[in-house]
Structures are given as C-alpha cells and as structure tokens.
Symmetry: C2
C-alpha cells in the first residue's frame, strides 16, 4: 500500500482521467481556471495531482452546461460552500428555464412550418392621451418575459383592482427589436393622483394613431403577428416613428392549449393614410 494521496500526473494522464483535452487544460491554466499543482521551471511541464480530479470533473460538467468560464471560476474559487452552491443553483435555474423555452420553441417551429401564413385583421384607431402608472427599464429579448411578469405584478399591486381603468400594456422602443435590447415600459391605466412607491412612476401615455391587430396564440409566436402587421403597414407605406404598443387582454380559456394569450399589437401610423386599412 504505497499509494500517495496527491500523486503527480502529467497533462496527458490528467487528460485521460478528466475527459479534458491537453489544449483545454492549457487554456484553463492560461485563464487561471484550473492551475497545475506544479510547473517545472526549466521545462514548463505542467503537473497535476489526483486531488484535482474532482474539481476538474466539476469544471467539465459546468462547461458542458455552457456555464461561462468566469462563472465556473467563481464556483471553483468560492471558499464558502454556500456561496458556491448559490452560483451553481442560479445557473441551473437559468438552464432549466432555457430548457423549457427551448422545448416550447421547438414545438412552435414545427407548427410554424405546417400552419398557413397568418392573416391578421388590421384596424385603424386613435387612442387618446391616457394617465397610467408605469415601470420602465432597459430589457433584453431573452429576459423580457420574466421582466414583464414582475413589472405587471408590481403594477397590479400598486394600482389596485378598483382603480384600474383598463387592461395593462407595454411600450417597446425600436431598439428592442433592432438590437435585441432596448427600453420597455409596462403600464396600467389609472386616474390615481397619489404618489406611487417602488419602481412605479406616473406616466401620461401620449395620444397616438395606430394600426391595431389581435394576436391570439402563444407569446412565443408574437413574432408572426408582428411580421404580419409590419408587412401591411409597410405595404401601405403608412408607418411612422414611435414605440410599438401592446395591451394584454388575458388568456383564451376556450382554447385547448392552456397558453393561448390574447394580445393587442398596435403599430404607430400616419393618420392621413388611414384609408388604407379598415376602421375600428
């Protein structure tokens, strides 16, 4: 029994036990993620020990789950097991959310390829200036669902059911569509004139001339309705600058699919040319 707990391993031996290529191990050394226990000063040879195998497995598993190297480093470096577990739990939670949305995206794409092209009934409408309470932020495409849920929940609680003057909605700056990230404002119409708290601010929603279409389907399929509305607006040549508006009219409980939402999508247009579309 001459076993040495920290037996020295060359990079090749360590590679075989960790499923990490020598190139990858050199890279992890360069970026300080997984440092060899010893480096020969004369030859530059890297030597690892058997004690490092467990860490290397954790690193590989986390990288297999696409955790960025910076986060993996935070996990490995965390002295405190609680802090370590927190980082991992956060990433695993994000992974599981991504899993679910990806599964939904796959299902939705199958549908997109078999279902016919959407034809939307577009209507022209002028919305008057409206007092609201609102929450605004710079939001990315990938986080919009979660952000909107949180903001609308906070707005609902702040305004109160009795003081609400209509369905909640949101404004999207063009950059949100053009660059995948931009200012988004969630709002709830209300005539309250006291001072809101938290992230909530009073907002006078400006009057606007709009081409309005109804999206009835999953939120992940909103792009199809946007495309259909944008297409008509472009073909009529009636579009003008300004944020896109959405209003959330609830779920369609008569549908077989439990995730069918009813969302009004409103595109700013020039009122002079409203002859091009039907009237509300």
């Amino acid at each position: 029994m001459d076993g040495r707990p920290g037996a020295r391993l060359t990079i090749g031996q360590f590679s075989r036990m960790t499923y990490l290529s020598a190139t990858t191990l050199r890279h992890y050394h360069a970026v300080g993620l997984l440092e060899p226990a010893e480096v020969d000063a004369a030859t530059g040879y890297r030597y690892y020990t058997t004690d490092q195998i467990a860490d290397a497995h954790v690193v590989r598993r986390l990288r297999d789950l696409d955790m960025p190297i910076e986060e993996v480093r935070a996990v490995v470096r965390a002295g405190d097991p609680a802090a370590r577990d927190a980082v991992i739990a956060a990433h695993l939670g994000a992974m599981e959310r991504r899993l679910r949305t990806t599964a939904a995206a796959v299902a939705s794409l199958r549908e997109l390829l078999t279902a016919p092209v959407d034809v939307l009934d577009l209507q022209y409408r002028r919305d008057a200036q409206t007092p609201t309470w609102a929450i605004g932020a710079d939001v990315g495409h990938d986080e919009i669902r979660e952000w909107a849920r949180g903001a609308l929940w906070e707005l609902a609680r702040a305004v109160g059911a009795r003081q609400r003057n209509g369905p909640a909605g949101a404004l999207y700056e063009p950059a949100f569509f053009e660059e995948g990230r931009g200012r988004v404002v969630a709002f709830v119409p209300t005539a309250r004139d006291d001072a809101p708290s938290g992230r909530v601010r009073p907002l006078e929603l400006p009057a606007a001339d709009l081409a309005v279409g109804i999206h009835r389907g999953r939120l992940g399929d909103l792009d199809r309705s946007y495309g259909a509305i944008g297409r008509v607006v472009a073909e009529q040549g009636i579009g003008v600058d300004g944020p896109i508006r959405e209003r959330f009219l609830g779920r369609d409980r008569t549908a077989a699919d439990p995730d069918v939402h009813v969302v009004e999508v409103a595109w700013p247009v020039d009122p002079q040319f409203r002859v091009g579309i039907s009237q509300a």
Copy 2:
C-alpha cells in the same frame, strides 16, 4: 387600397419586423444566407421586401435554436418542401435529444454536488484472450451513447443469444478521453467461427491485466467512476498503456431510479504491482 405586395424596406425597417439586427442582416448578406432583394449600385444601400419577412423569421427561429448557418442555408435554399422539412426534422430531433440529455445532466450535477465522493472497491484481475465478434468506429463523446446502442443491437442479432459467451463490452482508445473522439470497439464474446456480415468482424480480445471497478449508476455519471479508478491507479503508480475496457452487466432493477446501469470498468495495469490493490 394601394398596398404593394413586395414593398421595399430599408435594412432598419426590415430589422424592426424580423428582430434581426442590421449587423446580423449584413452578415447574412455577406455569407449568402439572406440576400437583399435589391442593392443600390451607387450607394451600396440594401433593400429588402415584405415578401422576405417570413423567410427571415424562419432563419431567426432556427438560429435561436443554434442551428449552424450552413444548415439554415440548406433549409432556406431547398426548393423541395420535402427536402426542407427533412433538414429541419433532423435538427429538431437532435435538439430534442440534446434537451433530454441536458435535463439529465442538470439533475446529475445537482446530485454530484450533494452526494459524497465515490469510493470504489477496486480489484486486480487477469483476463485471458477471448474470441469475440466486434464492431469498431471512430466515435465522438457526444454520439457515443447512440452509437453503442446501435452497435450492441447489431452484435446481439449477429451472434445470437445461444452463441454468446458472456456480457457485451467495449474498448476505448485513450484519444476518446483525451480529445473527445477516438476509436471505440463494441464486442460480444463468442466462439462462432463462421463469417459475420454487416459491420461485424471477428476479434481476438487480447489478454490483459486489469484494475476492475463496478459502476452502479446512470451512464451520465460514469465519469465519476473513471475518476475514482484513475485516481487509485495513479496513486499506486501501476497504470500502463492500452485501451480502457467496459463490460455491460445490465440494469439494477432493484433501484428506484430506472436508469441505474451496472458497468464494469477495467483499467490496464502492470501485473508486477498488483499487490497495491485487492485480489479478485
């Protein structure tokens, strides 16, 4: 009603309707994935048409699912709807498989972080030369499960239950672990001396001195057992060159988890030093 079906859009307008950034659209033009309907020869301005919105949505959705641009191009270029659907179906199938393995990996990682370190009972054994029928190939880490299933199924059918002399197994060249890809040979012991067909070839499994451990768990957790065995072998300093051997002893039907496999993992060692580990 002056709508023009193919209305001209600047890159910014098209960007807003497709959720693709102008930079991304220029990139797709450069690589020939999504070409503008018109390019102004004097100014270089790109112009798209509303007819291209649907294609752009398909491209974006496929890219969101990480389909490589080459494959997306094949989908968009496919004139034949059947060919188009075949490419998409193949990728969606791969996506769904990846979804399942990722879900498993997440669950397994949670366990890895809470469960104690594996302690394996290692035993020394000399295996005599063994006649087998075998299938070999160059296989990557990500495809090993599928490949092994196919190869073992073909071997089982070729050899026949009555001519089988023991459990099936596999050999792995070091490159499989070091580079994530390498030669793998699946085998079934048999004394048959007729000529096999298909991918099957006769193979004399060479005699070998082995350190043998039993992995009892999910196949996705085999790395833990490899690490534990490799560690002991390294600490004793008894490892020698040669392929790793596995033998598949079936599932543990007594376990609550339906995916508990029993796999014998054998690491080639120098018989001179077998005093370091217990005897079989």
